[in-house]
């Protein structure tokens, strides 16, 4: 009995201390398995069945779906110009910015989803879910993001360090329209 309780404690601490999320999920599944056998030894088999069904099956799948959603970093790139010439400064800047974003994503284990549109900033804010909106006009590149976004500060710091252009770059902070999370 005490043996299982000790193991329970060890796994609870381990799942908190790991730096990789997916490893923490494995630890949590083991934790719920141990939890269920502890319920069983305390003469509560119905609770043990509920723990077995919920803890080790549904919870893991939910965590995995959440991790998948967390990993995608959605960047919208809008410009008023419909067609960008191949060797203009705009195409050059764009590819450099994209490379910087990809490098940032590689460091943070994220996946960049670049979407090019001709929609305006307001339209994107209203209709799509985004992490970052990049506006490029003739002279400036504006990088818009929400302060409540969990990568916003990191990406601004990273771009300040690693992305320098001839044209001016401006950073803007959008307020969230739903009014939550700030």
């Amino acid at each position: 009995m005490t043996f299982f309780l000790l193991l329970l404690m060890v796994f609870a601490v381990l799942s908190l201390l790991t730096d990789k999320l997916i490893t923490a999920f494995v630890y949590l599944s083991v934790f719920s398995l141990l939890c269920s056998i502890c319920y069983l030894l305390y003469q509560a088999p119905d609770v043990a069945i509920a723990e077995a069904v919920i803890g080790s099956t549904i919870a893991t799948v939910l965590y995995l779906v959440a991790l998948k959603k967390y990993k995608i970093f959605r960047v919208y790139y809008t410009s008023k110009v419909k067609y960008i010439k191949k060797f203009s400064w705009m195409a050059d800047e764009r590819s450099r910015l994209e490379a910087a974003l990809q490098k940032f994503a590689k460091e943070k284990e994220l996946e960049v989803d670049m979407i090019f549109t001709t929609d305006t900033l307001e339209q994107i804010q209203l209709h799509y879910s985004y992490d970052l909106i990049i506006e490029s006009e003739d002279e400036t590149i504006r990088i818009n993001g929400e302060k409540s976004n969990y990568h916003y500060d990191e990406i601004i710091e990273y771009l300040n360090k690693n992305f320098k252009t001839i044209k001016s770059v401006r950073y803007a902070c959008l307020t969230s329209s739903e009014g939550d999370g700030t």
């Binding site: 043996f3 299982f4 193991l7 060890v10 381990l14 990789k20 997916i22 490893t23 999920f25 494995v26 630890y27 599944s29 083991v30 398995l33 141990l34 269920s36 056998i37 069983l40 030894l41 088999p45 043990a48 069945i49 077995a52 069904v53 080790s56 099956t57 893991t60 799948v61 995995l64 779906v65 991790l67 998948k68 990993k71 996946e111």
Partner: protein
């Protein structure tokens, strides 16, 4: 006799536990988890037999039917590089 077997199995879970904690890659951890869950099922069946509580076998059935899903989903997630 069966009680001794119960204790031996409890100690044997420690080895798969070690594989989960030490395992350098995620696959080792998953393998350890699989071994661990099968040993836990054996323990439940033994306990039900020792205490003459046949309704505890239901939990063992639920485990064998559902326990593999979390392992399958995690390995699918890793194998497809973040796509379920």
């Amino acid at each position: 006799m069966l009680t001794i077997l119960f204790y031996i199995l409890s100690v044997l879970t420690l080895f798969s536990f070690g594989r989960i904690v030490l395992g350098p890659t995620l696959w080792d951890r998953l393998l350890g988890f699989n071994l661990f869950s099968s040993k836990i099922i054996l323990l439940i069946i033994l306990y039900a037999h020792i205490k003459h509580l046949s309704y505890l076998l239901d939990i063992a059935i639920v485990y064998t039917l559902l326990g593999f899903t979390s392992i399958t989903f995690i390995s699918r997630f890793v194998g497809r590089k973040g796509d379920i």
